[in-house]
């Protein structure tokens, strides 16, 4: 113990709380066990009984995983589980995508660190870098999944992907975390650029690729011009507009030459599809839910009634019913010339469904912001929109991070429901694995355990990251 506690100093001031109670100070293992598990006879009894039960199940679980389980249905079909029947000669696209996205994550992490360093510099709260050990502890679920895939794999390919991906991620992290904090905007633009680029690798550079990739770059250009100290606000606005337009024109011309057909996402299958579907539905349902929440609290009755009706309607029906609607009936409502693919329709249904829940979560956050904040915003002359955008929303969203991440985790797991309408996501692909002659009725529990583990690893990481984000955003505030 570094400092003597009040108790040891012999003060009896009731206001001085024992520090051990405040900080849950670590006791040596022996003492901890004695204090928490065997401190009286009935507690000891409960400990012994529960201990036996836990040990029994742990033993059964371990002996299943390492002895009885026959993992060949998983290891022989890893590619199938991950990609489904994705054309094998186009598999390089997914490999490239994985490597690019690892790089994107490294870059994003580095950008976050660079931003945190800048804030630390400005606010005087020292920035403490995570140790490698704490980074490993942060992502242990994900690392365990990765390790398992590597152990189980039958070919050298995945090993190469993981090593190259990790190397790219670490390199980009190293570089971007050392970029001066004032340029952190460009890093985030690069993150968005790479993210879209990775997606385009699989889906091809046809269509509106230039639009997708131009957008983050345009935002960066606009911000760069916006940061310059110009006296004339109007001149600055025009320059920003010209810069943004310029980026889009250049991107358009470049991608005219880059044009290549990719794999339409109606051919995406397996866990790859679960991940992408969840990412897309999360990305789309968040802004939609936000707008719905604002509409529900709007002072315009028409908006309010529409939003309320929508939310209550959608929340009142099961998601599976909505998915079946998407499968069979959306064609009647949306009279498009070319029919939308099944996956697109399913994603629309999932997005609409989740948006209603996001809206209610955000509304809770909006209500938690004290009315004094709005009054303060108004009294410094902010418009209603500026008050919402700059004062209410940042505080509201911060307050609802846990609930929101919970909803997104649930959405991620609900992507398995797509199997019901015949989309080849991971559960559906599992059926395929077992329809092969050699795996028919063989290792059914094992493949299921594998699927569960894959979902758990990612959901757990999301949950841990949200807890961390929550703690970080709380620093120095309130």
């Amino acid at each position: 113990m570094d400092r003597p506690t009040a108790f040891e100093l012999g003060t009896e001031d009731p206001m001085v709380v024992d520090e051990r109670q405040l900080h849950h100070e670590k006791l040596p293992p022996g003492k901890w066990i004695q204090k928490n598990l065997f401190n009286n006879w009935y507690n000891s009894l409960i400990t012994v009984v529960l201990g036996v039960v836990v040990l029994f199940f742990a033993y059964r679980a371990i002996s299943f995983v390492f002895v009885t389980a026959r993992w060949t249905p998983v290891t022989e079909n890893l590619t199938l589980f991950m990609l489904g029947r994705f054309p094998r000669d186009e598999q390089w696209r997914v490999t490239a995508q994985v490597i690019i996205w690892s790089g994107t994550m490294g870059l994003a992490w580095g950008a976050a660190v660079a931003g945190a360093k800048l804030r630390a510099l400005q606010t005087g709260i020292p920035y403490v870098e995570d140790s490698t050990l704490s980074k490993v502890r942060r992502y242990w679920g994900l690392l365990l999944l990765l390790g398992m895939l590597l152990v189980g794999t039958q070919t050298i390919g995945p090993l190469v992907v993981v090593i190259v991906g990790l190397a790219v991620a670490v390199a980009l992290f190293y570089v971007s975390s050392r970029v001066p904090g004032r340029h952190v905007g460009y890093l985030w633009a690069a993150v968005a650029f790479l993210g879209v680029f990775g997606y385009q690798i699989v889906s091809g550079f046809a269509g509106n690729a230039w639009l997708w990739i131009g957008a983050p770059v345009a935002i960066a250009v606009s911000r760069y011009i916006g940061q310059r100290d110009w006296d004339d606000v109007r001149r600055q606005r025009y320059s920003q507009a010209a810069g943004v337009l310029g980026v889009f024109i250049v991107a358009f011309v470049v991608f005219l030459f880059f044009d290549s057909e990719g794999i339409g996402w109606d051919q995406w299958e397996g866990f790859h599809l679960n991940l992408i579907a969840a990412a897309v539905a999360i990305t789309l349902s968040f802004p939609l839910g936000l707008l719905l929440a604002l509409a529900r609290r709007s002072s315009f009755p028409a908006l309010r009634i529409m939003a309320t009706t929508y939310i209550e309607l959608i929340r009142g029906v099961p998601m599976i019913a909505l998915l079946l609607m998407a499968q069979f009936f959306i064609g009647f409502f949306l009279n498009t010339s070319t029919p939308l693919s099944l996956i697109t329709r399913a994603l629309v249904a999932m997005t609409l469904f989740t948006a209603a829940y996001v809206a209610e979560i955000v509304r809770g956050g909006l209500q938690a912001v004290p009315v004094g904040q709005v009054e303060a915003g108004q009294s410094v002359g902010l418009s209603a929109i500026a008050t919402t955008r700059l004062i209410v929303l940042p505080q509201a969203l911060r307050a609802v991070i846990p609930a929101m991440v919970g909803q997104f985790i649930s959405l991620f797991k609900d992507t398995t429901l797509l199997t019901i309408i015949g989309v080849s996501e991971i559960l559906n692909v599992r059926e395929l694995a077992h329809s092969q002659q050699e795996f028919r009725g063989f290792g059914i529990a094992e493949t299921l355990v594998f699927v569960m583990f894959a979902f758990w690893a990612i959901s757990f990481t999301m949950s841990r990251e949200s807890q961390r984000l929550e703690r970080k955003l709380g620093v120095g505030e309130r």
Binding site: Q122, T123, G124, Q227, D229, W230, D231, V233, Q236, P370, G372, Q373, E375, A376, G377, Q378, S379, V380, G381, L382, S383, A386, L390, I391, P394, Q395, R398, G476, E477, R478
Partner: protein
Amino acid sequence: MTDKPDNAETDDQAFADATQMAGSGELMIELDGVDKFFGDFQALKGIDMRVARKEVIVIIGPSGSGKSTMIRCINRLEEHDRGKIVVDGIELSNDIRNIQEVRKETGMVFQQFNLFPHLTVLDNVTLGPRQARNMPKKEAEELGMDLLTRVQIPEQAQKYPGQLSGGQQQRVAIARSLAMSPKVMLFDEPTSALDPEMIKEVLDVMKELAESGMTMLVVTHEMGFAQEVADRVVFMADGEIVEVGTPEHFFHNPTEDRTKLFLSQIL
């Protein structure tokens, strides 16, 4: 001025006196027969008041007397139901542009500070000018630092409000209001949520502000501040203005029984 007859004091005369004292004849704020209801409860009953430019008015009265409601009506945080409110020649109507104009010209300081907890102190101060007046960032930050120096906490500029003491937070709130270069400052019990040892630092800033010629309406329970700084003291009870007068008149020679009762309870 000390020997004027007590009972002949009308509001117009008080206004004339006040304008003499403040050295400015311009009308800054005019309230004319203002009524305000919360449901069936009438919070303001026919309030008439005129405030001259550079005048410092202190509003006192028992809780629930409508003091806060009145000054909240002046920048439309509350909407009045009847009567007329004119601020610097702009009449408050339902036109949102009118309301915006009035809000840009009136600063407001709240009992609970209402600083933006997710922004640094400097960003709290510069938000108004940058958003509502399109001021370039650099200029806004220079202005912000000037104002923080004026309220004597420039060293806290990069901290978050949660890291500051109550007195410091309230001074930031004053700086935030001043950043919009308002013509009127409204104070809604600015020291009521503060620990006693922090009240003085906020009152000192307010005194300095009054000396610089700012038009101020202050709802407060700080009688010392009222005696020292106010040009006129307004006593409100049950949604009505009961008595208006100079601090000397008000504290030493009040006319109304209601005022005498109130003073006997608090002094």
